[in-house]
């Protein structure tokens, strides 16, 4: 077949595709070098310890320490996710509906913590929440408590600080989705006889669901792998999965065991994305229309 029989528009389309592939190549290479290879190495290590072995996996699924850590991690992730949704939804709603200077201000307040190191913020929470910290003092001053609450070195502290750190990951996808909901829809709802609550429930809420799912997924997945915050605010008693990994490496020099835990966590995360992706396509979830 000579090339002259090919439709010129098809040829143009092919050339465009080739160009796009070329443009994406550097990014693909970086990802391959920095993600695929290390993860592959990690996976290999988990099954190779002086010969092929599934010993590390067997221990994960049989030893209670691991089970408890996984259960705790998922419980904390669930709590953090629900709390960020509860706190983030009204903020995103306000930002999406406020007029020009105010919406920027609200978003700036949400983003501000983003620009401070996670470590600094974790220490800040440690100071705020400790026995003689500002939070306890205020609660006592207002007579809400008679004895200082234990808000650090436990699960509660971890949850509070993690919620704060991950709130932007909830607010931003919510805001991006809400902003795209045409204003007339709520006006239409009102004109057709729907009161404010009814119209919200039947129109705004369902249309904001993609953002909700995106936020839930992001926060949940990020919490699963959270390390610094639980390490600092958990006080050594709240052992999340990431800490199990680090302890395996640092204390016991068990790279194989650490890798196996990492692989299991990775599979959990991929499973979550796959499940969510069935409901809402990933590109839509990440705010691309």
């Amino acid at each position: 077949m000579s090339t002259s029989t090919i439709d010129p528009s098809l040829r143009h389309q092919r050339r465009e595709q080739a160009l796009m592939t070329l443009l994406a190549a550097p990014a693909v290479l970086v990802i391959a070098a920095l993600v695929v290879i290390p993860v592959g190495w990690l996976a290999a290590q988990s099954i190779y310890d002086n010969g092929f072995t599934l010993e590390h996996y067997r221990r994960i699924f049989t030893e209670e320490v691991y089970w408890r850590s996984f259960a705790l991690t998922f419980r904390i992730a669930l709590m953090v996710t629900l709390l960020t949704l509860l706190l983030g939804y009204p903020v995103a709603y306000a930002a999406a509906h406020a007029k020009r200077p105010w919406n920027v201000l609200i978003l700036a307040c949400v983003m501000l913590p983003f620009w401070t190191s996670v470590l600094v913020r974790a220490y800040a929470w440690l100071v705020l929440l400790q026995r003689t910290g500002v939070a306890n003092q205020l609660l006592e001053r207002f007579g809400l408590i008679t004895e200082p609450l234990a808000m650090v070195h436990n699960e509660l502290g971890t949850v509070i600080a993690t919620v704060h750190i991950l709130l932007p990951f909830m607010v931003l996808p919510l805001y991006s989705t809400m902003q795209k909901i045409p204003r007339e829809l709520m006006l239409a709802g009102a004109s057709l006889g729907g009161g404010p609550l009814y119209s919200f429930r039947r129109i705004f809420l369902p249309l904001s669901l993609p953002g909700v799912v995106a936020g839930l997924t992001l926060v949940f997945v990020l919490t699963l792998g959270f390390y610094i915050t639980p390490e600092l605010l958990g006080g050594g008693r709240t052992i999340m999965i990431s800490m199990v990994v680090s302890r395996n490496v640092e204390l016991y020099n068990q790279w194989g065991a650490a890798s196996a835990v990492g692989v299991v966590l990775l599979i959990c995360v991929l499973a979550i994305f796959a499940a969510v992706g069935r409901i809402i396509p990933l590109d839509k979830m990440l705010g691309q229309k």
């Binding site: 007339e184 829809l185 709802g189 009102a190 004109s191 057709l192 006889g193 729907g194 129109i203």
Partner: protein, 361 residues
């Protein structure tokens, strides 16, 4: 579907100020039951503000709105029973056609058993029978428009507001929908207030057209009256395709245009600056057949533009004043147009010699 009980709408001295900007300035309108009234004006004329006040989305700074004799100025939108068709239809994208149309019934907590039949009736009304299960994304622009209409009618609203509902459609479809809306209005007997910036659309469908400018009501009249009896130069320029020329008062019933005296059969304002509004279709090529009292003019042809069903002839009077006229494009009429550069004798009947005060232009 049964006839909708269209109700009287009274707008009394409605105003809306945003800081020092008067978006709407003391507008009063009295709309009869089952009347089709268009609000016509350029952007920024206040027509959308007025619609917002009627719909309950905008609180007026002053004045009141009465619907069927009841003051609804401070009634929230969802308790007004006004069906609104929005510019972009505002259909709910996550609901099917049937669910969209049933929304007002559900919101009113009407018995569920009545939905299916009412939805069927409303969709049949707009020629979309059997479309209940379709998704909004599967519909064409014209079909969305009809769904929006069905949804706004199904609860038998006391008034239907339409905010430039046809502006997103292409010309052909728009003109078909105009005729359909007109017929639908007659069948339904609803009171309809229709916002548009398209004068032809307003003239086609309306019983009366209200012209707004800078937040003020300039004139409200039947389409023919607006065309033939514009209140001032602004209305004359906005309706039809008029050339406005400043003229001098020459007598009780005549004016002088660049030295030529023109008689008018209409009363001429005794004071103030005057403007002659010549609609392109009223300026005729003189062929000796007109009535004896016709005004005569002479001009030079500067350009001829073919526009399909008609030709637009651009002319200049001896002193250079530009004019234009429209000639049907059929063989005989087009044959009367001389080549560019030639002189042409024109006639204008005194009934078509419209003299308006300049104020308001």
């Amino acid at each position: 579907m049964a006839t909708i009980g269209g109700e009287r709408v009274e707008i009394r001295s409605a105003s809306k100020h945003y800081g020092s900007v008067r978006a709407l300035d003391d507008v009063s309108l009295d709309i009869a039951p089952q009347e089709f009234v268009s609000l016509l004006g350029p952007s920024g004329s206040g027509k959308t503000t007025l619609l917002g006040i009627l719909g309950g989305f905008i609180q007026p700074s002053g004045g009141s709105v009465h619907l069927g004799g009841r003051d609804v100025t401070y009634t929230p939108p969802h308790k007004r029973d006004i069906g609104i068709v929005f510019q972009n239809y505002a259909l709910f994208p996550h609901m099917s056609v049937g669910e969209n149309v049933a929304f007002p019934l559900r919101a009113r907590r009407l018995p569920k058993s009545s939905y299916a039949e009412k939805v069927r009736g409303a969709l049949a009304m707009v020629d979309l029978a059997g479309y209940e299960e379709r998704g909004i994304g599967q519909l064409s622009g014209g079909q969305r428009q009809r769904v929006a209409l069905a949804r706004a009618m199904i609860f038998e609203p006391r008034l239907i507001l339409m905010d430039e509902p046809l502006s997103a459609l292409d010309k052909q479809l728009r003109e078909n929908m105009q005729i359909e809306l007109r017929q639908l209005h007659k069948r339904l007997g609803a009171t309809i207030i229709y916002v548009t910036h398209d004068q032809r659309e307003a003239l086609t469908m309306s019983d009366r057209v209200a012209i707004l400018k800078d937040g003020k009501l300039v004139q409200i009249d039947k389409p023919e009256r607006l065309h033939d009896h514009p209140a001032n130069a602004f209305v004359a320029s906005f309706i039809g395709e008029a050339t406005l020329l400043p003229v001098e008062r020459a007598g009780q019933d005549s004016v002088s245009l660049a030295g030529t005296v023109l008689k008018s059969a209409r009363p001429i304002a005794a004071t103030g600056e005057l403007v002659l509004a010549i609609q392109t279709e009223k300026l005729l090529i003189e062929d000796g057949s007109g009535s004896p009292e016709r005004n005569r003019l002479e001009a030079r042809v500067t350009d001829v533009v073919f526009q399909g069903e008609s030709l637009r002839v651009f002319l200049a009077l001896d002193d250079g004043t530009p004019l234009s006229l429209r000639q049907p494009s059929h063989y005989e009429a087009a044959g009367r147009i001389p080549p560019v550069g030639e002189r042409l004798a024109l006639s204008l009947h005194p009934q078509d010699t419209i003299i308006v005060p300049k104020a308001g232009a």
